[in-house]
Symmetry: C2
Subunit: 298 residues, 2 copies
Amino acid sequence: MAGPGAGLLRALRGARGRGWGSAAGGWAGLRGRPDKYGGVSVELPQCQPRPRRRERAAFGRWLRASVAQWQEEGRVAVWLHVPILQSGLAAVAASQGFAFHHAESGSATLMRWLGEGPSRLPGYATHQLGVAGAVLDENAGKVLVVQDRNKTVNAWKFPGGLSNPGEDIGDTAVREVFEETGIKSEFKSILSIRQQHQHPGAFGKSDMYIICRLEPSSFNINFCQQECLRCEWMDLDELARTKHATPITSNVAKLLLYGYREGFDKIDITMREFPAVYTGRFYKLYHRELPESYRNMT
Amino acid sequence: MAGPGAGLLRALRGARGRGWGSAAGGWAGLRGRPDKYGGVSVELPQCQPRPRRRERAAFGRWLRASVAQWQEEGRVAVWLHVPILQSGLAAVAASQGFAFHHAESGSATLMRWLGEGPSRLPGYATHQLGVAGAVLDENAGKVLVVQDRNKTVNAWKFPGGLSNPGEDIGDTAVREVFEETGIKSEFKSILSIRQQHQHPGAFGKSDMYIICRLEPSSFNINFCQQECLRCEWMDLDELARTKHATPITSNVAKLLLYGYREGFDKIDITMREFPAVYTGRFYKLYHRELPESYRNMT
């Protein structure tokens, strides 16, 4: 009778034209793909049924034999991509010295270092990115501030939140400001960057928090009742002096006031866009304004 | 006879004082821990042996019953922490709608959203951080540059590399410069920040690349032969004009030349340290220099 893992075997047999019955079972047809760093990468096939004990044992034998061969070939690392429904195989690999590198949604990537000395394999993403927007109404000298609904201390802060995957810094600021306050705005510059490690809200990873200077294009507040307790246009001078703000908000308010009075060129970290070496992509570079004479020198 | 999963059952029985034999098997003693966001979190016990089929089935029944109960209690999310050797249980959870949130080393975290509408669960770290150091010898007007050993195009660049987990931006710059070139230096400021998405070397995550201004405290180059093909002190003016540099290096060299000639206050993004709200921790905030009169205003 076909067990829950039979589909996996069929998939392997079908895809690779190899029969269950060789020393390593249906896994024998599976090949590692060498990478340019001297490693080898294996994608385990995506199948609905979960692997049974007999298949896990066969996978274990195949993996042991394959690793021995890769070692002989001088490969320094093995990457194993395991679909979540085949997670039982991750346990088998773990018993042979593999560990998680990362996992996301329906797939985990395990690794094992085969080279000499300690592992030189690169780590995984270490930072989450939060972005806030300091929206300054230059005509009125007022800046948009909020108070969180769910905090015990009522401190004024700039609206903001976590970047979505693949989202540019300025876009996060504009989106978050709109979602929280209903105010539309445009990115002008970066004002400050904070780095903080072992961040409680970041699953122990590091947090980077960037505050941008934004220019409003609408002024009627319609704030998110779920997130905010209060939201208002506050005198920039008042925000710079109030004790009811976090040190970061307070510092950036003073910085903004300095720029507002004496010129934004004193405080701005501006943005330029460049084509990436990878075709069709662009990246954004933020630095102090460079005079034309320097920018065009050759 | 005790199968490979018997230890897991014993561990559960021992730890919770509950026998295998209740409807959900040995899992019945396992309790979820509510979190302050309306979710519930479950740590599966760490045991050496891998769970067998009968235990996976019992776990599946326990999880289904527990989720139903958490749903009834109005919980909006479930987090499941699974040791790598118990990965078979991740597959069971996946068949009930759980997915990977993240995994690292010996443990995976799965999640399932129970609340209304689309998931509001926070994502995992989205960025890796690379830092380079532009070490400027002010007396000689020379800057430290390297060429990678393993690149097809021989472009001059600043030495640098990926931040280690928990490492401050300036510390990465100083460490990487020393490891690659043997030059000792001190952090002065941030000069530029680049953000690039779907970075090939970042497992599809985003890359943030920061260049710092460093001041050398040693001058004899002893470069890493594995990483670098060439390493030298180059006239800053020459680096700013050469075509043999990437756009970023070229731009930052021009920026540095501008600061060198007309004052570093024109280019620097300086650092201040503050105590974090979490006891005993500090964070670093980078922004434009704030005049004393503004800094101390109340």
